[in-house]
Point group: C2
Chain length 375, copies 2
């Protein structure tokens, strides 16, 4: 296999994955269709529309849902800023899988130590960001009684696990999984393994299936953690964590590199309507060079961020309407200006409503951060 | 410099250091005489007799003693067994330097996570061992009101520091300091840096001179921690930790390798008198092949474990008597049998007395472990 044929996944960098099928074959990720999805009470739009493309051991979670047995769903954030369309994907998956059963418990890690170590973000600042993030999660449907929220700087058990796990890895192993990275990042990876396995400690009810929804680029963490869970199975009784994988999202300029240096590309859930409007009206589309041409040949919704990232992925729930939208574009019945105006109507309504809801969640978010869970 | 000329220090292995002078030159350790020792109220036998041979920044501690300003003395153990003559050296240094001033605070780390990760010693077992160790420390003169005792498994601040410090090191740096070691040991080194810098956190009164008494083989930890303290000086206000260095102790068979596989070589402070007697009567001496020869030529106290390790290092406080003992041997006036019997009289008295005292300390030790310090 030539150098350029190697699929490189870098959870800390920018991964560009064109061929998800090959990725799955190479790393042993199962296609999402291989899981018994029909046994789920409802399917999330991200699954229906193929944005969630793969999984590991999702069967275990579906089985737990069906049999009414306990399971955990785990995610986390490095508190570096407000929620945007990229982080919203994982947030929605987290909430969806937690809400599937009354026996599910969500675990939400706030990586404030990592934010401090890497970005010198003071813990107090992380706390503020985390409150904002929790407000979004709650507005998106997170049940504050079915989640355990913790900050790395307070959760001794995670750092204890990372300490123990440090004995189970070698440089060769870490390099094989992550490539040649600084010592501190390898160490962070062990802390993440601690986060993922925390729900299985006796303090949280012992071994249980645990699902981690991640972007495709985060698979190295899943592989490492599964490897560690295997090594400590005898000591802790760990069940190998399950995962679902979503495709990487482009920013609104159509770039795979979602960067704060390109703020017009990122739509934050906290953006003012004015700012959001500007971003959407300057978003990258699948339009033609001229209106004439587009009327004749039709647009290319497959590459359009309005169609793919905004409507399909996030804002248009109705599958039938989405299909109509697709064909209106494809056949040239609608041009980009009109399309954006129509999309903006939907998105602005969603944003206003979300922002109204999230403001009402401030007190609950603060309480959740302080008390880990609400009873 | 040829391969065999390189001084190798390995805090986790067996170091054999023949030339302490060269060691000091190579790594920048100052000779102990360079510190203003005369300003100390009294000199410990380990200093008077040259077992403590070097230091870094001891001046800062002596200055704090003299000026009545706060300083910390830091040490720790990996709870793997009872105190013996080797661990007693560090214990005595710890107590001596803490007792020099009412402004001093001792910090005693119990590395129970490390014992678990490396030796699968359960935390509960570590707790028992730590209690036994604390009983010895208290019997040796540790003031329970001037020490902060903590277990790694409970001290979040140390693991937080290790997390942060993981960003400040590179493999090259770790390899240059420690040689090529497993990932887990490099990580342990960062945790130790956290232990050493813990006394300077705001929770413990902020930056202050901190002394770490160590065996010569532990200098890599000191160098790493000073390097890290330098890098985080701006963030935390750290003062570079000071250290005193003692020579490595042989076991009673005369071997540098103190190993549990050679139990006759290690005198535990908890040994029964019968067991201690056996070990001492079979200890390696500087005697000649025959009594005749020894009477004529005299013994070699310089290589005798009874004279060096037992009497000089540990059990004969009186310098004048020690000198007489030396000459009695050197001139052949006393043979090994008689010497051992005389030594045993002193040692058995010390041991009985120590064991009586340590038993009285059990309750205080338990309380100290639970409450960190007694007020």
């Amino acid at each position: 296999m030539g150098q350029e044929d190697v699929i490189r996944l870098d959870p800390w960098g920018v991964s560009s994955i064109k061929d998800y099928r090959r990725l799955m074959e190479e790393f042993g990720i199962q296609p999402i269709e291989s899981a018994p999805l029909k046994e789920l009470p409802q399917l999330h739009r991200l699954i229906r529309r193929g944005f969630i493309f793969g999984h590991r051991d999702l069967n275990l979670i579906i089985k737990a849902v069906k049999e009414g047995r306990e399971y955990a769903v785990m995610t986390g954030i490095k508190p570096s800023g407000d929620y945007h369309l990229g982080t919203k994907v994982t947030a929605e998956e987290f909430i969806y899988f937690t809400n599937l059963s009354s026996k599910a418990m969500g675990f939400f890690a706030i990586a404030d130590l990592e934010a401090y170590a890497d970005n010198k973000i003071p813990l107090e600042k992380s706390r503020e960001i985390a409150i904002s993030n929790l407000m979004d999660l709650l507005a998106l449907g997170l049940d504050p009684k079915r989640v355990y929220v913790y900050r790395q700087s307070e959760e001794m058990n995670v750092l204890k696990l990372a300490f123990i796990f440090s004995r189970a890895v070698t440089y060769n192993m870490m390099e094989a999984i992550y490539g040649d990275k600084p010592f501190g990042l390898y160490y962070s990876a062990l802390v993440q393994a601690g986060d993922i396995l925390l729900p299985q400690l006796p303090e949280h009810g012992g071994p249980k299936p645990t699902l981690v929804p991640v972007g495709a680029d985060q698979d190295p963490h899943i592989r490492l953690t599964r490897d560690i869970a295997r090594k400590y199975r005898e000591d802790f009784g760990f069940i190998l964590p399950a995962a679902v994988y979503h495709k990487l999202i482009r920013d609104l300029t159509g770039s795979m590199k979602m960067s704060k240096r390109n703020p017009m590309g990122i739509l934050y859930l906290t953006d003012s309507l004015e700012s959001a409007r500007k971003k959407i009206f300057s978003a990258f589309t699948g339009g033609r060079a001229t209106a004439e041409e587009q009327k004749k040949l039709g647009g290319t919704p497959e590459v359009c961020t309005i169609f793919v990232e905004l409507l399909s992925m996030h804002f248009l729930e109705d599958d039938k309407k989405l299909k109509e939208w697709y064909w209106d574009c494809k056949t040239g019945r609608i041009l980009c200006g009109e399309c954006k105006a129509k999309a903006w109507e939907i998105i602005s309504r969603w944003l206003s409503e979300h922002q109204r809801k999230r403001e009402q969640m401030r007190d609950v978010a603060v309480k959740l951060l302080e008390e880990h869970t609400l009873t």
